[in-house]
């Protein structure tokens, strides 16, 4: 059975179709890359899954149950985690506290007031801090971190959440080549135990992932396949490079 299934999802903003009859299936443990030119609806696509935007038509099914109409925190608790396009960490909290907020466990007010972190959760936070190399900065406000460090901190927060499905929006934007390679390794590692969906513009990075690719265009799935297949698909070339190429080719 598929972990996540989008069935004919359409999102209309005042008549503008951000998503148009979008169908997509994700199997458990899969690593999937989604690409598409600007305005293809990639972010709206994540917004629909995470409950920020309600689809005008269609259904989103997670583990066999529809999640349309549920609020963001509810969906997150079901096991869908999200990393944002621009890194969003809590600037006034230290990386450690950022992770302590994100770490898997009860998230109600009472739990936070009267409970304390288990040693397991503490170890997890400590472990993640070392994985992303922020041990030295663990106590400073996260606002002072560099862009790359923030990206990594946010990925660490996502992992701390331990969701079944990870939605990762442009994880390597602004990272160095070395950091990009490490991010790819990390995501590949996560796949298998988790299901990972990555949105990225960086084609080298996508190639590194060695994952099946879905191409979005005008809110619709244009084609699916391996990176090589997709890159040679004339429709993909057309939407990325415009019709001129088509004329040249023809």
């Amino acid at each position: 059975m598929n972990l996540l299934e989008l069935q004919g999802v359409t999102v209309s903003f005042d008549g503008f179709l951000a998503l148009n009859d979008l169908n997509l299936q994700l199997a458990p443990g899969e690593l999937r890359a989604v690409i598409g030119p600007n305005g293809a609806g990639k972010t709206t696509f994540l917004d629909v899954i995470t409950g920020k935007v309600k689809p005008t038509r269609g259904d989103v099914v997670f583990r066999g149950r529809s999640i349309v109409g549920r609020s963001e925190h509810h969906i997150s608790r079901l096991g869908i985690g999200r990393k944002f396009q621009t890194p969003r960490v809590y600037q006034n909290l230290s990386p450690r506290r950022n992770l302590e907020l994100a770490v898997r466990g009860p998230h109600g007010p009472a739990a936070l007031l009267f409970g304390s972190l288990s040693s397991e959760q503490r170890d997890r936070v400590q472990h993640l801090l070392s994985v992303v190399g922020l041990e030295r900065q663990a106590q400073q406000p996260a606002g002072g971190l560099s862009h790359g460090q923030k990206q990594w901190l946010e990925i660490a927060m996502l992992v701390a959440q331990d969701p079944e499905l990870l939605l990762v929006d442009e994880p390597v934007a602004g990272l160095t080549d070395e950091e990009t390679a490490r991010t790819a390794d990390l995501l590949k590692q996560l796949a298998g135990d988790h299901t990972v969906l990555v949105i990225e513009h960086d084609m080298e990075f996508i190639r590194d992932l060695q994952a099946p690719v879905t191409v979005l265009h005008e809110g619709h799935v244009l084609c699916e396949g391996s990176m090589d297949q997709v890159q040679n698909d004339p429709r993909v070339i057309e939407v990325y490079l415009g019709s001129e190429t088509q004329e040249d080719a023809a």
Binding site: F13, D14, F16, A18, T43, T44
Partner: protein, 385 residues
């Protein structure tokens, strides 16, 4: 049935004042996302401008000209309030861009100062104030330039303003010894504006008896709305304002001078408050607290009407104004004497001006449960980006 029309007409007049008052606030809020707590005081400035114009017409100009003083007061109130708003934008609001809650607090501070200013201002006070401000501005020009490039320059700046301020206070208190100078211009008491004769009578249209002053207010509101609508839809600057309202960053990139747009919008919004102030003087006596009576209602209009659409503002203002009046005046009971017992008790309970506000607020909260973004919500990705 006459009574019903009468009630509706009066409600419409009250609602029109609210439209005028809230219009400027809503335009500014839509554009800059800031709530101007001093908006009510800008209305007050408009009302006091009317008062001053009236007195000048009474004292200086021939009596035959008196009937048109209100037509002179209207543009003048627009200019006075507009310039006051412009000053506020340039000195305070501009520095707080992107911090709406801080703007709210700062403009509240300005509203306190304006209220007390109207109460306290006398010739002595005004002279002292002008001296202090002019001296404060001139100090850097008449002191060695090197003083203003030192480590301690901030202290010097603060110090010089404190000193010139004290000089102003001393001058004011010395002048205040003289009776002529000590006389407050307006004092804390309410002021009354005499409406010209042509606004005092009433006109009968069919069965409805329409007081001319209220008819004038409704007409004024319609004209103001048409002008604002024309300005926003048809003029170049209006288009720029709409562009910045929709997407500030993109407008900036396209070369729209967003700072000028902000200043202009603030000037217009504040000027409209001044016009509303003129209208308010026709409804009764006004005082330094005038702003407080209207400001919360204006806020409710903004909450209910949403931003970016004039229709929302107009509908919300008329709705709140008419409902408050109809419930608060208790006319419902007279219009419909055969009301069921239970409903009658409820309506009677809310049939005062202040209790009507209780009811209207409760209804607004209920409405927001159904449509949290107001009457005309914005849609799309830009919302809560």
């Amino acid at each position: 049935m006459d009574l019903l029309y009468d009630t509706l007409f009066n409600g419409l007049a009250i609602g029109s004042v609210l439209v005028l008052a809230a219009l400027g606030l809503a335009v500014v809020f839509g554009l800059m996302g800031v709530i101007n707590m001093a908006h009510g005081e800008l209305m007050m400035l408009g009302a006091y401008t009317t008062f001053v114009v009236q007195n000048i017409f009474k004292a200086v100009l021939p009596e035959a000209l008196f009937p048109i003083y209100i037509l002179v007061a209207l543009p003048l109130a627009f200019v006075v309030s507009g310039l006051a708003g412009l000053l506020l934008e340039k000195t305070v609001i501009r520095r707080l861009y992107g911090r709406p809650l801080e703007t709210l607090l700062a403009t509240w501070g300005v509203s306190l100062i304006l209220q007390q200013f109207v109460r306290s201002v006398s010739s002595a006070f005004a002279i002292g104030l002008v001296v202090a401000v002019v001296a404060g501005i001139l100090v850097p020009r008449f002191t060695p330039k090197v003083w203003w490039q030192q480590r301690w320059t901030p202290l010097l700046g603060t110090g010089s303003w404190i000193v010139t301020g004290l000089v102003g206070v001393v001058i004011a208190s010395v002048l205040g010894e003289q009776r002529v100078f000590d006389q407050p211009w307006f004092s804390a008491r309410n002021i009354d504006v005499t409406a010209p004769v042509w606004l005092r009578g009433s006109i009968d249209v069919g069965v409805v008896n329409m007081p001319a002053a209220r008819l004038f207010i409704i007409a004024l509101t319609v004209v103001a709305l048409l002008l604002v609508n024309w300005f926003l839809q048809k003029s170049v600057w209006g288009m720029r304002i709409r562009a910045v309202t929709q997407n500030r960053t993109m407008s900036d990139c396209l070369g729209i001078p967003t700072e000028k747009v902000d200043a202009l919008t603030f000037l217009i919004g504040s000027g409209l408050a001044g016009v509303a102030g003129v209208a308010v003087t026709l409804l009764g006596s006004v005082g330094p607290n005038l702003g407080g009576n209207y400001i919360v209602d204006c806020f409710m209009v903004v909450v209910l009407g949403g931003v970016g659409k004039l229709a929302g503002t107009v509908l919300a203002a008329l709705g709140i104004g008419i409902l408050s009046y109809v419930v608060g005046s208790g006319s419902l009971l007279l219009v419909w004497p055969a009301m069921p017992e239970g409903l009658n008790a409820v309506i009677t309970f809310f049939a005062t001006t202040s209790m009507a506000k209780v009811l209207v607020f409760a209804l607004i909260v209920v409405f927001l449960q159904i449509r949290p973004a107001g009457l005309f919500p914005q849609k799309g990705r830009m919302v809560e980006a």
